[in-house]
């Protein structure tokens, strides 16, 4: 069974350096968007949205490819989604306080 399991994992080949370059590019873009002097004057809300989208994209790249979630069984995907759903829930619950 162990060898079967390992053989399944070996079926996928991820270009890790491509993921690395994507992560690096997104980090550079984030820094540019985050530094007031380097970024053009644009609304704070747009800046926040851009930064969050880039952070989520980076986190997704790490989760899907480095942590192999993309190639795992659905069960592990569900486990990984639980904290995400609960965190969204927490944020929605505290929104009325703002």
């Amino acid at each position: 069974m162990a060898s079967d399991s390992h053989a399944q994992h070996d079926d996928h080949h991820v270009n890790y350096m491509a993921i690395f370059w994507w992560l690096l590019a997104l980090t550079i873009l984030e820094v540019i968007a985050g530094i007031p002097q380097a970024s053009p004057a644009y609304p704070q809300l747009l800046k926040g949205a851009l930064l969050v989208v880039m952070a989520v994209a980076k986190a997704a790249l790490v989760g899907l490819y480095f942590m192999h979630l993309r190639f795992e069984k659905l069960t592990l995907g569900f486990i990984a989604m639980i904290p995400l759903i609960l965190c969204v829930f927490v944020v929605l619950m505290v929104l009325p306080d703002f």
Partner: protein
Amino acid sequence: MTDAAAVDHAHGVEPAETPLTPESWGKLGMWVFLAGDAMSFGTLLAGYAIMRGNSANWPVPVDVLGISLTAFMTFLLICSSVTMVKGLDAIKKDDQDGLVKYMWLTVGGGLIFLALQAYEWTHLINVGLGLAGNKWGDSLFGTTFYIITGFHGMHVTGGVIYLSVIALRGKKGVYSSTNWNEVEIAGLYWHFVDLVWILVFTFIYLL
């Protein structure tokens, strides 16, 4: 196929999903732990958002913290994630020396990260960012900063120890192309630490 599965199949019963194996128990256990840990970080970040949102004089993080050093720390953790997957790839090809080399590189990345964090904290304490007060505004700014980055730093410390053990066991020849499950599980932990820092960097430093 096990005997029981063969009997089920013979009687027309749909075989279940691949059952848990000793290998997947470890991975499943790590994922359950990481899910719990992610909720801890999620709650901390949500708490940060609430305190910041309700504060009238929250400092602009970039002005106090600066981001060039932490941008480099982010780069460092991304690099260490790459060396981690390279180590796993190496042992899948029975390259034990490659595994040990990449594991120590990953540990080195973690140690440099911790050293830079210690430097950053020392600098911030010296310029007046205290745990319970600061000269820029709301005292909770320092409290949340140290608690969240400190909690993450403890995870990095745990990861450095964890990966050092994997490297030492790799040096002893414990792992091979048919026995790399422990390396993969350790990698999950390390990538999680990287993933969390990506979010901390954005929410604490950039936003």
